[in-house]
Symmetry: C2
Subunit: 193 residues, 2 copies
DNA sequence: ACGTTTATTGACTCATCAATCAAGAAAACA
DNA sequence: TGTTTTCTTGATTGATGAGTCAATAAACGT
């Protein structure tokens, strides 16, 4: 019973299923059939809409990065002053949308993918550049020349927190993860002031 | 012209080739044939000595962790006082042996592997526990109750630095990476004192 | 009513690879 | 010398999975 205008619906379902399946399996060794099955369709249809497995993966990665970007933008809009904005960016990095188990695991695998697929690398570099830019922008008025180095360290700590969550079983503790990073930030700011 | 006593030599060659090949490819999608070829033997021989691809991977992972452990032990032996020991542990984490491009890339892939293979997870948890234990032991006399939280943060930053190096092309800058983490440590210690 | 576009799948192709096996050749041993 | 053990590989098997294709069917336009 074919309906019309299925394309965006199917694509969205496949993207969701891909993230779930990667998070579940814990690796990129996921077959198109598995993804399609979870999304409720045949593997042939998945190929019909995306053309290749790689395109499906890239769409999933874009989706995760888009979610994250929206989260950060929203948090920044509601924040006040450099310090408030820094806190917002860090909190947003550990917000519910991007810090769910499956998303964290998928994220880790996208790092691996970026070592192989240039397009994935590109996407990841965009994310890193945006994070660094955000951090430096608001660190500069507070710590001056130390801003770039601090941004690097905070960025690394955020990524590392993700990495470590990917290993733990059970629900990620996003409050604790955020507090850990904020704690370091506070110490640095006290010193700078 | 078969010689005798080849087993340890072959195994070592395979382990080295595995790390090189994973680092080179940037993923675990490496065939036994590729590894064997780089190690200068047939794939059948690799299976003969290791039994399965998974065992080859695990041996490679053990090797990397052993290298790292030795590096840390050595650095600790030459260090003095809590502060000196902390610096030693951090520096060792970025020492030449474990921070070469191929090793970093392989390391990242072992994280992925640990999501699938329990034995790999076990190995990684041993590494994490040892790092945490080392850090907390020497942080305690300097910062008291904040030690566990700080250790967590430093550990995350170290892992994050690895993660980020895996992406960059070119030789990893181990001095800079170590300085970044040491910088955070210093700030925290100044505050604690 | 009828051709066209969109949706959908089962069946198939083709390549890849882990793992096995039989067999050869050199050393060790009796 | 002959037998056993160690080392080694080419060839083969068996499974798996990405991507293709032909065919079906519903909606849409005319």
């Amino acid at each position: 019973m074919p309906k019309v205008g299925m394309e965006p619906i199917r694509k969205a379902a496949l993207v969701r299923a891909t993230i779930a399946e990667i998070g579940n399996t814990g690796s990129l060794d996921v077959t198109v059939s598995q993804i399609a099955k979870r999304a409720g369709m045949s593997s042939a249809l998945a190929h019909h809409y995306f053309g290749s497995k790689e395109q499906i993966f890239l769409a999933a990665m874009r989706h995760i990065l888009t979610l994250y970007g929206a989260e950060v933008r929203g948090a920044l809009a509601a924040a006040d002053g450099p310090r408030g904005r820094l806190i917002a960016v860090i909190r947003a990095s550990f917000s519910g949308g991007s810090f769910r188990r499956e998303a964290v695991s998928a994220w880790l695998n996208f790092y691996v993918m970026s070592q192989i697929k240039p397009e994935a690398m590109r996407l990841l570099l965009v994310y890193q550049a945006r994070l660094r830019s955000n951090l430096i922008h608001d660190l500069r008025p507070l710590v001056g020349d130390r801003a770039p180095m601090l941004a690097e360290g905070l960025g690394a700590m955020i990524d590392g927190a993700y990495l470590r969550e990917a290993l733990k079983s059970g629900t990620p503790d996003r409050i604790r993860a955020a507090e850990m990073v904020l704690d370091f930030l506070n110490t640095e700011l006290e010193r700078g002031a």
